[in-house]
């Protein structure tokens, strides 16, 4: 108890209290008067808010889908490749793949803006004449891919840690039992890394729905063009602080934040009760 107290106090003051206070504020107007569900009615009923909200939420799910379909499988693939003993310089590859993760988002965004610049970027040399970050159709996939590029080292390291913990005996036993490489992966390796897949998925989900910095850095708070790269984070920022002429509303901001909190909470609960209880972690 005594030893837990400092951490509990700090956590309460800086995490629990702001969260609860933000929830509380979503039920009050900007002047501090109790407003009931008015803010929520505005968010979901008033087209100026609702259209942006549903757009941002949709974009956010697309953003998440890109990470689930690309970042995590690629991370797993890289991790599997890293466990191949016969390749030389594995440590170097590991470091290189992990390197972008250690870079600041500001730098990553800047680098990719330069690379993808339609004026003198590399896109033209490889035959892409679309300004990838400038068109509504391509901006969200492009930003998603940049984020995937930056963060792929995280699932890779997580998967790698689990993979190297699988005893070699197990793999050899299955090979003697008659399994080829694919069958070893399907029947032995994959079931054993399944718990980690769940953990990585939920971390991706939380990270993606809290994402803000990359979009902010590359496209600014208006998340252009035409809000095509708007996600929950940027939508919240505009609502709370205001942007390009509009004034912000702390009450509405708190409301958006509360809805974001509920979305993430729903995902976490789904993970805990829908996944974690069914997938067993085995002692190796």
């Amino acid at each position: 108890m005594v030893f837990l107290a400092p951490a509990t106090v700090i956590y309460s003051v800086f995490m629990v209290y702001p969260l609860l206070d933000s929830l509380r504020r979503s039920f009050f107007d900007d002047d501090g008067n109790f407003a009931g569900l008015d803010n929520y009615n505005t968010l979901f009923g008033n087209p100026t808010f609702a259209d942006r909200f549903w757009d941002a939420l949709g974009h956010n799910f697309q953003f998440f889908a890109f990470h689930m379909v690309l970042q995590n499988p690629i991370g797993l693939l890289l991790a599997v490749l890293l466990t191949v003993q016969s390749v030389r310089g594995l440590n170097i590859y590991r470091t290189i793949v992990f390197l972008p993760t250690t870079l600041s988002v500001v730098i990553v965004g800047f680098i990719w803006r330069l690379i993808l610049s339609p004026i003198w970027g590399v896109t033209e040399t490889v035959g892409i004449d679309t300004p990838l970050l400038g068109e509504s159709r391509t901006v969200l996939p492009t930003l998603s891919l940049i984020s995937v590029w930056q963060w792929v080292g995280i699932p890779m390291i997580f998967f790698y840690a689990v993979l190297i913990a699988i005893p070699k005996d197990l793999i050899e036993a299955s090979r003697v039992d008659g399994a080829g490489s694919w069958q070893v992966f399907r029947d032995i390796t994959f079931p054993l890394i399944l718990p980690m897949l769940g953990i990585i998925s939920i971390l991706t989900y939380i990270g993606n729905f809290n994402a803000f910095d990359l979009i902010y850095q590359v496209k600014g708070v208006v998340a252009g063009p035409d809000f095509a790269s708007d996600i929950m984070g940027t939508f919240f920022y505009r609502t709370f602080f205001g942007a390009s002429g509009t004034t912000g509303s702390p009450a509405m901001g708190a409301t958006v934040a509360s809805v974001m909190f509920l979305i993430i909470l729903a995902g976490v609960l789904l993970y805990m009760f829908g996944w974690q209880r069914r997938v067993t972690t085995y002692e190796l």
């Binding site: 036993a173 299955s174 003697v176 080829g180």
Partner: protein, 393 residues
């Protein structure tokens, strides 16, 4: 049912380490051959080369006359039992045993029947739906056996399968493996570092040291006629007492002299061309602890050694006396063989004797022990090869 044949098999790792050198070994159909040696002698590597888990650097591995060097484990049709059992933790016992059948596309009904039969044979029927995590060590061991048996493979390869069990269970499983192997009649290669296991299980035992095959013989021949110093010291527990000595001959007698003691050699050593080639030859004299008995009036005519008792271990069925003898011990550079010896004291070399439990030897006493055996083992001090009167006199 198969015959395994290894010809000139070697394993050299990329870093230049030579784990196995030029091993020739034939394992007959239905035979249980034990590969034994101290840890790091290359026995596991040899087994893994037969399994196809390790590339063969030189030489040929044949199964039933078919060269399998380039074949993957799945093509070789051999089953392996691992030291840590290597059960798939996420599969039930049923699926663990049946995994190879599933991969081999055995029809579902037949597979189910074979799993049931195997489980019945190993008394695992009640455990079929459990996962390995819920099994005891002995049960896991049996599942690992079941996984091998269910395939009806060409051969079983067992890599120290009993070393993770407690002593009582080990003895029990040892008997069970022998029984199973006999009744199934499957060719088996069994790897162990435990010479007791090797002696009790193998119809033939192959002793390996530093990747070199030392001797392949039945357990009794290995014990009675070790080819070299290493085999002599490795086989038998407690291990053989070994002393530096030399052969002294006259025209009518020959004796092996070690320290202050000597042992008369058989007539053969004195016969021959009279060149006296062995006179003064440096040898190592080997005396098994079980040959030594307390000297009494009845055996006063036997050659004897005088020893000082340092420690007595009463084991109930016998009494192991750790003593020192006035002689120079012979060194063998294998650390495991040093186990159980009293560290060399100031005067003399250690000498172990397995005496009758009724012996009344006391610590600190100096006693005479008779060598109740018609001969002693003699090894060339240089080559460490066994000297035989018929060829080395």
């Amino acid at each position: 049912m198969s015959e395994l044949r290894l010809s000139g098999v070697s394993k050299v790792y990329p870093n230049g380490v030579r784990a196995v050198s030029d091993v020739d070994l034939n394992i007959a159909d239905g035979e249980l051959l034990v590969l034994v040696g101290p840890s790091g002698c290359g026995k596991s590597t040899l087994l893994r080369m037969i399994a196809g888990l390790e590339d063969v650097t030189e030489g040929v591995v044949e199964i039933d006359g078919r060269i399998v060097n380039a074949e993957t484990p799945r093509e070789r049709d051999i089953a392996m039992v691992f030291q840590n059992y290597a059960l798939y933790p996420h599969m039930t016992v049923r699926k663990n045993i049946g995994y190879s059948l599933r991969l081999g596309k055995v029809p579902r009904d037949e597979a189910a029947q074979r799993i049931e039969d195997t489980a019945a044979l190993l008394e695992l029927t009640d455990l079929l739906d459990r996962k390995p995590g819920a099994l005891s060590g002995g049960q896991r061991q049996r599942v690992a056996m079941g996984r091998a048996i269910v395939r009806k493979p060409a051969a079983f390869l067992m890599d120290e399968p009993l070393s993770n069990l407690d002593a009582r269970l080990r003895v029990q499983m040892r008997a069970e493996i022998i029984r199973l192997q006999r009744s199934l009649g499957t060719t088996t290669v069994y790897v162990t570092h435990d010479q007791v296991e090797a002696m009790t299980m193998g119809s033939r035992v192959a002793v390996l040291r530093d990747g070199l095959l030392q001797q392949v013989e039945s357990p009794q021949v290995l014990y009675d006629h070790p080819d070299n110093l290493f085999v002599a010291a490795f086989i038998g527990s407690p291990s053989m007492n070994l002393y530096q000595g030399r052969i002294e001959r006259t025209s009518t007698t020959a004796r092996a002299v070690f320290g202050a003691h000597s042992f008369p050699l058989q007539d053969q050593w004195t016969e021959g061309d009279g060149s006296g080639g062995n006179d003064g030859r440096e040898v190592i004299v080997g005396i098994r602890p079980e040959w030594l008995v307390e000297q009494t009036r009845d055996n006063a005519d036997l050659p004897s050694v005088r020893v000082r008792v340092e420690l007595v271990e009463a084991l109930g069925s016998e009494l192991v006396a750790h003593t020192t003898i006035e002689a120079a011990g012979a060194e063998i550079d294998t650390p495991e063989l040093a186990e159980g010896h009293v560290s060399e004291s100031s005067d003399g070399a250690p000498c172990l004797a397995r005496l009758s439990p009724r012996s009344r030897v006391a610590v600190g006493e100096t006693i005479d022990l008779a060598i109740n055996h018609p001969s002693v083992h003699l090894f060339d001090a240089e080559t460490e090869r066994a000297l035989r009167p018929d060829r080395d006199r």
